[in-house]
């Protein structure tokens, strides 16, 4: 690395990565001030697909907003369903039957695996390897088929209801999910052989784009980004919602904080999610999937409520301010990628362009979720 920026003799130029660029996987723009191939200053520019979901929340009744949550992060929509359903249930004091909770956990974890799989493909694509993308598409397809059979949609799910889920799972789903767990367990070593052990990939990721735990804290990073920096923070463990407290799983944590650590965290999380799915299916109780007494018009009492759920990209928080009517007074959606990408400017300073884009990919950004 060389002395940069401060010296006016270094001639810099602006390079726009995005809003249409293969590496941003969506309409995000990063304004890079470059000195040759070195990055002097990186500034993400947001808002290209801002839809003002928070305002929409204020104009719709509680159930009407549920489909919007699936449009925040289209890759792990069920996690966002869960966050929103959770806050309304907490506010209105709605009890969820146990079977519904287990169904929620199983489907959310399947969704998390599919999100991580797609990330894996897209990330290796960022690094110039095309083939893993099509391998993960194959595996992800199995999950999409499974989820389609219970939720009715393949990507932007709107499956959760206040007090449960709208559709019970059937035996086909259980058999299919078990088969998928088996299949994925066999596939994971293949991914490690093809991708993790590749010498070129290791050279590009190890020690590159280091994010310190302190930086994570200052920017509020959560999810795999924080866990790749040695912070064992996971909402599912720290404030167990739903039935996560009854399930046995680990939080993968790597200390290095480089792109490789974040990569490994996500691959290990696939493994842990498979464990959760398996246990969830084993423990699945019989019973209803909707609470018996859910008011037609949900009217939470006055006050404000917070609920956090662990999405595939970190802690998704919903702050609900209720004025006692059927529409939220204020709905704040705290999206994890928003905080995660805010540290990019500092983390990318002084990196080479190729390494910065590897770091960018390792943050696992879904742009609609940042822009909301």
């Amino acid at each position: 690395m060389r002395p940069l920026a401060a010296d006016p003799a270094h001639e810099t130029f602006i390079l726009n990565v995005g809003p249409q660029h293969p590496a941003t996987h969506g309409a995000l723009r990063v304004k890079l001030t470059m000195d040759g191939e070195y990055i002097v200053e990186a500034e993400p520019v947001l808002g290209y697909i801002h839809r003002m979901h928070e305002k929409m929340g204020e104009n719709r009744s509680y159930p009407q907003f549920m489909p919007n949550t699936g449009r925040l992060d289209y890759l792990s929509a069920l996690c966002y369903n869960h966050g929103y359903a959770g806050v309304v249930e907490r506010a209105a004091g709605i009890e969820v039957p146990e079977r519904a909770e287990y169904i929620r956990v199983v489907t959310v974890e399947l969704n998390r695996i599919s999100s991580h799989l797609l990330w894996l493909g897209a990330f290796v694509l960022d690094l110039g390897g095309f083939t893993p993308l099509l391998y993960v598409m194959d595996d992800r397809e199995q999950i999409l088929d499974l989820l389609e059979s219970v939720t009715g949609s393949r990507l932007t799910y709107c499956y959760f209801r206040f007090g449960g889920v709208y559709n019970d799972i059937d035996d086909d789903f259980i058999v299919g999910a078990r088969n998928f767990v088996k299949r994925m367990r066999e596939k994971l070593p293949m991914y490690h052989n093809l991708v993790s052990k590749n010498i070129i990939l290791r050279q590009r990721l190890e020690g590159i784009g280091v994010i310190s735990p302190e930086m994570c804290r200052k920017y509020g990073a959560t999810g795999p980004v924080a866990r790749g920096s040695g912070i064992a923070y996971d909402v599912r463990k720290q404030e167990p919602y739903s039935v996560y407290s009854e399930l046995n799983f680990d939080i993968p944590v790597y200390e290095q904080g480089d792109s490789m650590a974040r990569y490994l965290v996500r691959l290990d999380e696939i493994e842990q999610s498979l464990r959760i799915v398996e246990q969830g299916l084993d423990k699945m109780p019989e019973g209803p999937v909707m609470a018996a007494k859910v008011p037609k018009a949900v009217k939470p009492p006055k006050g404000d409520y917070y609920f956090a759920a662990e999405a595939a990209r970190g802690a998704f928080g919903v702050r609900l301010v209720s004025d006692g009517t059927t529409t939220p007074y204020r709905l704040k959606l705290r999206s994890p990628s928003f905080s995660n990408v805010s540290l990019f400017g500092e983390a990318a300073r002084g990196l080479l362009l190729a390494d910065a884009l590897a770091l960018f990919g390792s943050l696992d950004l879904v742009i609609p979720e940042i822009d909301r």
Partner: protein, 194 residues
């Protein structure tokens, strides 16, 4: 418990600190502070290794009016109850009870509505969600930025400025962030008309 330690540290700045029922509310500590104290509060939480989850606003347009209405309603109800009590007393032939001297109904100058600015903090190793709230008047919504304490607050404050028009003094760049770059409106204000 983490929250008690933080509570003590924060109580010197705060107007009100209360521990909440976590299961019902989703957070442990609810702290209301005057706007000029946000930096000091952020510094205390920074020393305690908290991280910032989000900054946001709430527009309480019409709150004072509703409060006044409610107060008037309550006063009317109290008056009615008192009158009834007096009537009852008169009927039963007892001496009327001592009338509490009603405070002279001050048709006081209308208090201005305010924006509430909410900071959500959390702690990595130990679960402790702290909510810092402060109120700024709607016509001069200004308060100091905490982005020098938490660089991550930079974006959250910028977003809050976008949506509510709340000005964070000392913020490096408050240009529109999620909204179009020429946006001069603040969509989450309750009086916003598209």
């Amino acid at each position: 418990m983490k929250s008690t330690a933080v509570k003590q540290a924060l109580s010197s700045l705060a107007l009100r600190v209360e521990e909440c029922d976590y299961a019902a509310r989703g957070y442990h500590l609810n702290v209301t502070i005057p706007p000029e104290q946000v930096v000091a509060a952020a510094e205390i939480l920074d020393r305690e290794n908290f991280f910032l989850e989000a900054v946001t606003g709430v527009d309480w347009l019409g709150e004072q009016e509703a409060l006044a209405k409610e107060a008037a309603k309550a006063a009317a109800a109290a008056k009615k109850a008192a009158a009834e009590a007096a009537k009852k007393a008169a009927e039963s032939g007892e001496p009327p009870p001592e009338q509490p001297v009603a405070p002279a109904a001050t048709p006081a100058e209308p208090v201005e509505d305010s924006f509430e600015v909410v900071y959500d903090f959390n702690h990595y190793p130990q679960l402790c969600r702290v909510v810092i709230r402060t109120r700024v008047p709607r016509h001069t919504p200004q308060l100091p930025t905490i982005s020098q304490v938490y660089p991550g607050a930079n974006w959250h404050e910028r977003e809050t400025h976008d949506f509510f028009g709340i000005v964070f003094e000392g913020h490096p760049d408050l240009s529109p962030f999620l909204l179009p770059e020429d946006a001069d409106f603040h969509p989450l204000r309750k009086d916003y008309q598209p």
